[in-house]
């Protein structure tokens, strides 16, 4: 989270609150016009920019300090919950001075009698014929990704002997396919987005068609290069997973790999953002002025809502990349999905919190051992029990196949000491386990403490005679 949130916050700060606003295409989401460059107007915008930049600086420094402080939050679960809430707050708070600036700029524009000329531009030389995407390169990268995925599927199907150790460990959980597919899923998204961006609207920034052609081609090429770079990062991450997994079976290793992957993805994104900003600055300086004035359609300078515009994807006003027209039916659906995913994240946090902080409950009823935790319940008939033993948790090595592995609860299907398909229901903090072998399954259970687990073990021995 730190790898993602801090660079994004710093980037947003520099992108939203530039020192020299005169070189920028927009000021707080409002098109930068020659009318703003007069002495009086310029002095006003200088003060406005200075005030909001100062507020943003304080917010940005505070957010970075809080991010560092969050490293000291105890327990993994609490860290996850706080980081996720912090991510939402962070993105919201850093934009507050920008939203205020946007509202002041719109008022300033209105007070100066500047009204939109409602002109829409198109260049006959750029329309539909300016592209930057190297299709063969993107397709080759995706084919290689598909081959890696195919190898993963074959490995999980037991058709590649080199991966047998993994299959023995995880059973039918398709771990290799799930892991590589997680990385390669981004490829599919980028493949789709790369084509959408390459066929998106061409901007008219000059009366000179050659400048328009060069600008749009360069802009699309920068995004195309970024898409190809991300596809290769995904492929390499998936390939490393495929190679490393049979050698070292470790969840920590996968987490480290995920961290490195995120770091590379962030570096790729930052490089793209810098290239885009430099490109815009270069053309801003060298072109005559054509301004498409659609400021009024940008709610808070960030959300585009224009029922008269038939386009779906629109270049963002702030930051880099593309946004959607909220008035477009598909745009409405995408925003609804965005809102739903935020709600889902909050619900997921509540669920994780309940999982982590609800103690497990093990009891017997009518000669049946019942393991109960929230919605999950395991029932072990005493008549089915073949063998029972207790031991120290440090003596067993459990690898999760499907289920929950939190600090206070481990439940679901695990591979224990090389035996696949074992059912776990224990509190890892207790340090002890009770192994119950039945006719068809092996269970590893515990109570919340070592003493309670020992007491449970003695009780089970007594009822089993």
């Amino acid at each position: 989270m730190f790898i993602c949130i801090v660079p994004v916050t710093v980037f947003m700060y520099f992108n939203m609150y530039p020192i020299n606003w005169k070189n920028k295409k927009r000021i707080y989401g409002v098109a930068n016009r020659s009318e703003y460059k007069g002495d009086k107007e310029s002095a006003f915008i200088d003060i406005l920019n200075k005030t909001h930049r100062k507020q943003a600086t304080i917010i940005m420094v505070a957010l970075v300090i809080i991010s560092v402080a969050l490293f000291f939050v105890p327990t993994f679960i609490l860290k996850t919950i706080i980081w996720t809430i912090f991510a939402f707050i962070d993105l919201f708070v850093i934009t507050i001075p920008y939203v205020l600036g946007n509202s002041e700029m719109k008022r300033f524009k209105k007070n100066h009698g500047i009204i939109s000329d409602n002109l829409l531009y198109a260049d006959t030389k750029t329309s539909g014929c300016v592209h930057g995407l190297n299709i063969p390169m993107l397709v080759i990268a995706n084919i290689i990704g598909a081959v890696i995925l195919l190898i993963s599927i074959l490995a999980d199907a037991g058709m590649l002997p080199i991966f047998n150790s993994i299959n023995n460990l995880y059973g039918d959980a398709h771990v290799i396919t799930i892991l590589t597919a997680t990385f390669l899923f981004t490829n599919v998204l980028f493949l789709l987005i790369a084509f959408i961006v390459d066929n998106s609207k061409n901007e008219v920034i000059s009366e000179n068609s050659d400048i328009n052609v060069n600008y749009n081609r360069a802009k699309k090429k920068v995004f195309a290069d970024y898409s190809i770079a991300i596809t290769w990062i995904d492929n390499i991450a998936a390939l490393i997973t495929l190679i490393v997994l049979p050698i070292l079976h470790s969840e920590i290793l996968i987490l480290v790999l995920l961290g490195i992957y995120l770091a590379f993805t962030m570096i790729g994104t930052i490089v793209y953002a810098i290239k885009r900003m430099k490109l815009d600055e270069r053309y801003e300086k060298n072109t005559d002025e054509i301004i498409t004035d659609d400021d009024d359609y940008w709610i808070l300078g960030m959300f585009y809502y224009n029922p008269r515009d038939k386009r779906l994807n629109i270049e963002k006003r702030v930051g880099v990349g593309y946004s959607v027209n909220l008035a477009h039916p598909v745009g409405m659906m995408i925003s609804a999905m965005g809102i739903l995913s935020i709600i889902a994240s909050i619900l997921a946090l509540i669920w994780i919190g309940m999982m982590a902080y609800t103690p497990i409950n093990v009891y017997t009823e009518n000669n049946t051992i019942i393991c109960h935790h929230l919605w999950d319940e395991y029932k072990i008939e005493s008549s089915n029990i073949v063998e029972i033993e207790s031991g120290e948790l440090s003596d067993i090595k459990a690898i999760r196949t499907a289920g929950t592995g939190l600090e206070n609860v481990a439940k679901g299907t695990f591979s224990v000491n090389g035996e696949a398909g074992c059912k776990l229901f224990l509190n890892p903090q207790s340090g002890k386990y009770i192994k119950i072998v039945t006719n068809d399954k092996t269970y590893y259970i515990s109570d919340n403490t070592a003493d309670e687990t020992e007491e449970l073990y003695r009780f089970l021995l007594s009822i089993l005679g």
Binding site: D117, N118, L119, L120, Y121, A122, D123, T124, K125, T126, S127, G128, C129, N199, S200, K201, N202, V204, E207, S209, N212, I290, N306, R308, D309, K310, R311
Partner: protein
Amino acid sequence: MVIKINEYSDVPIYMQIRNQIVMGISSGELKPNEQLPTVRALALDIGINTMTVSKSYQILKSEGYILTDRKNGARVRPEIKQSGELSEENKNELKRIISEAKISGIDKTSFKKYIDEYWS
């Protein structure tokens, strides 16, 4: 050539596109045989319905300014038929413009200056 569309103008958008392409051909910004954007691409760039652009192209084709075919799309006609005469519709339009100019107090010499400017 840059096409500028005013979405709040009294002139329908398809006529604005038609007029600007005609002006582009006249000024030489659009050369004979020059490829024009596809209906879909131009509609996407302006942010309007494809039917609107299609209507403009149909008018331009029927007036003999452009050629369209499925394979090559739309292009400026290499040799536009020159009748050497002003159409009745344009004569009426010119009459209206001259009348408005007279009412506005523009004398003939000043009006001719405008003609010279736009003619070149």
